[in-house]
């Protein structure tokens, strides 16, 4: 599994880290049990465009890099444009992500969606982002992944998801 130079750059030098005090919108997504957790804060100007974005992330290299690049992508966008950023766009912007890491880009785009909706709700307006699964505390980012292959072999894992009972018994299970 190899990260692109751009992923490593954003991981080593993450942009827009922090929390905006008195933010207009706040998005918190993910679950520490899964190892990924993101908080994103935004300010929104009078014409419904994102002025500033900051993030905090607990997670792997890809989680930090996708968080960082989403903040760069979102700045200056309209709220509609911001919630339309897809996980594929995030991955493409980073020069690609390993398949097992694609869920990290969901976390980043979801965080932004939740922050936008939080802003809209605070102003008595209708949310526009739709359902965001990773805002659920029981969120399992791997639940609908195609590459959750229990018979995967030879991938160089120290460990993998297939136990002797043949079940992925603990994948993001709440303890």
């Amino acid at each position: 599994m190899l990260y692109s130079d751009k992923v490593m750059d954003h991981f080593n030098n993450p942009r827009n880290v922090g929390v905006i005090e008195d933010a207009d919108g706040v998005g918190e997504v993910g679950n520490p049990v899964c190892g990924d957790m993101m908080k994103i804060t935004i300010t929104v100007n009078d014409s419904d465009h994102i002025d500033d974005v900051k993030f905090q992330t607990l997670g792997c290299g890809a989680a930090i890099a996708t968080s960082s690049i989403v903040t760069e992508m979102a700045k200056g966008l309209s709220l509609e444009e911001a919630v339309a950023i897809s996980k594929q766009q995030v991955a493409d912007e980073l020069g690609g992500l390993p398949p097992a890491k694609m869920h990290c880009s969901v976390l980043a785009t979801d965080g932004l969606k939740v922050a936008v909706d939080d802003y809209l709700k605070k102003h008595g307006r209708e949310p526009i982002a739709g359902e965001v699964k990773s805002a659920d505390p029981n969120f399992d980012p791997h639940a609908d992944e195609d590459d959750h292959d229990h018979d995967d072999e030879g991938t160089g894992h120290v460990h993998d998801s297939a136990g002797p009972d043949g079940e992925c018994s603990v994948c993001c299970q709440q303890i």
Binding site: M1, M8, F11, N12, P14, V17, E28, P32, V33, C34, G35, D36, M37, M38, K39, Q56, T57, L58, G59, C60, G61, A62, A63, I64, P98, A100, K101, H142, E145, H148, E153, T155, G156, H157, V158, H159, D160, S161, A162, G163, P164, D165, G166, C168, V170, C171, C172, Q173, I175
Partner: protein, 392 residues
């Protein structure tokens, strides 16, 4: 500069081992099964290597040593070879522990699919398999018990002698995966009373792709690889003569230097553990009680994800491993840490620092200087660290 702290993953080939192997790639290249002079030369060298390995592990006879293509092959051969011999039609019961390497867990899973019964025995929270827990798991049709000598992630050493005795009380055979212990702590197959054991060469400064299976005389066994009948018809395929020479030499060096090196490494291991836990809050060793390997420090760094730490350390030229899900492209944290009751959110922040022959005190001090700022930076970036772990 590279500071390598992943000796439990693999080791460099020792120069003395390489020197011993070299002639067998070129001028002494014969097939050990050929009858002419150069074949006989290879055969003699191969059998001397076998005798040396047998002596190093105190086996009663050299033909109890079967050379294989590595630890994974030895594990697969032991489980599948023994179970299919004692119960060709399935139905027999196999016990493995929950924190085995996947080279044991996967063949156990395979056997289960083939109609064998498999029990997975959990270690206690201290990271050891308790003989009483094994006794409770034994069934009238239990034919084989396989429990690793020491765990490769947390370094705990299991009471193999007592566990083998429990297996034998129940008329079952006993196998142990000794990939992580061979040469590092005393290993005497007779003293331990075991029937089979797996070894890996590249964990002890020998070449990769080579290992051995100890199979006590008269242990029932179906040849896993079939073909020309080499290795007493237990492992066909032209023998890897340079591999055998290298493995035997590597093991001789390990045994000769064991006591001194063990003391040196355990002091360095404790220096790592004390150095990290005294400086960084919310850090602790994964296990603290009981017998542990001298060269493995397993730490829980709460509130940080392991892969992020690994990559940041790599930026400084420091190589470590982690039980985090993300480190491997896998989706869940270490099954070893989960098996001893470590919560997943903590297991994601585990770090394994494994030391070896070329580790110096300066290496440890370099790590201890570089590591805390990395953790503090990542914790400062976390949206939940304050909430979950409080002050600082």
């Amino acid at each position: 500069m590279t500071t390598y702290f992943d000796y439990a993953a693999t080791t460099p080939v020792d120069e003395r081992v390489l020197d011993a192997m070299m002639p067998f790639f070129t001028e002494r290249f014969g097939n050990a099964n050929s009858l002419y002079a150069i074949g006989r030369d290879a055969y003699r060298a191969l059998e001397e290597a076998r005798e040396s390995v047998a002596k190093s592990i105190h086996a009663e006879r050299p033909d109890e040593i079967i050379f294989t293509g590595g630890g994974t092959e030895s594990d697969n051969a032991a489980l599948i070879g023994i179970m299919t011999k004692v119960a060709p039609d399935g139905g027999a019961h196999l016990i493995v522990s929950a924190f085995e390497h996947h080279a044991i867990l996967e063949p156990a899973h395979f056997l289960e699919k083939q109609g064998y019964e498999v029990s997975v025995l959990k270690p206690r929270a201290d990271g050891h398999i308790h003989p009483d827990d094994l006794r409770a798991e034994m069934r009238p049709n239990t034919k084989l018990v396989s429990i690793m000598h020491a765990n490769n992630e947390i370094g705990t050493i299991n009471p193999i002698k007592e566990l083998a005795a429990v297996a034998h009380e129940g008329r079952a055979l006993f196998h142990t995966d000794a990939a992580q212990t061979l040469g590092k702590i005393p290993f005497d197959v007779v003293e331990l009373g075991i029937d089979a054991a797996s070894f890996s060469s590249h964990k002890i400064y020998g070449p990769k792709g080579f290992g051995a299976l100890y199979l006590k005389k008269r242990t029932p066994f179906n040849a896993y690889l079939k073909g020309g009948g080499q290795e007493f018809k237990k492992r066909s395929g032209t023998q890897n003569t340079p591999g055998a020479i290298g493995f035997a030499k590597a093991l001789e060096i390990m045994v000769a230097e064991q006591a001194e090196e063990g003391a040196r490494l355990s002091a360095l291991r404790d220096r790592v553990i004390d150095g990290v836990t005294s400086v960084l809050e919310n850090t602790e060793p994964s296990v603290s009680a009981g017998e542990r390997l001298p060269h493995i420090a397993s730490l829980l760094i709460k509130g940080v994800e392991g892969e992020a730490m690994l990559l940041q350390l790599d930026n400084k030229g420091i190589s470590v491993s982690t039980g985090s899900a993300c480190s491997s492209g896998s989706l869940e944290p270490s099954h070893v840490l989960l098996s001893i009751g470590c919560p997943p959110e903590i297991a994601h922040g585990s770090l394994r620092i494994s030391l070896g022959r070329f580790t110096t005190k300066e290496d440890i001090d370099f790590f201890l200087a570089e590591f805390p700022p990395i953790v503090e930076r990542l914790r400062a970036m976390s949206p939940v660290y304050q909430k979950m772990f409080g002050s600082k």
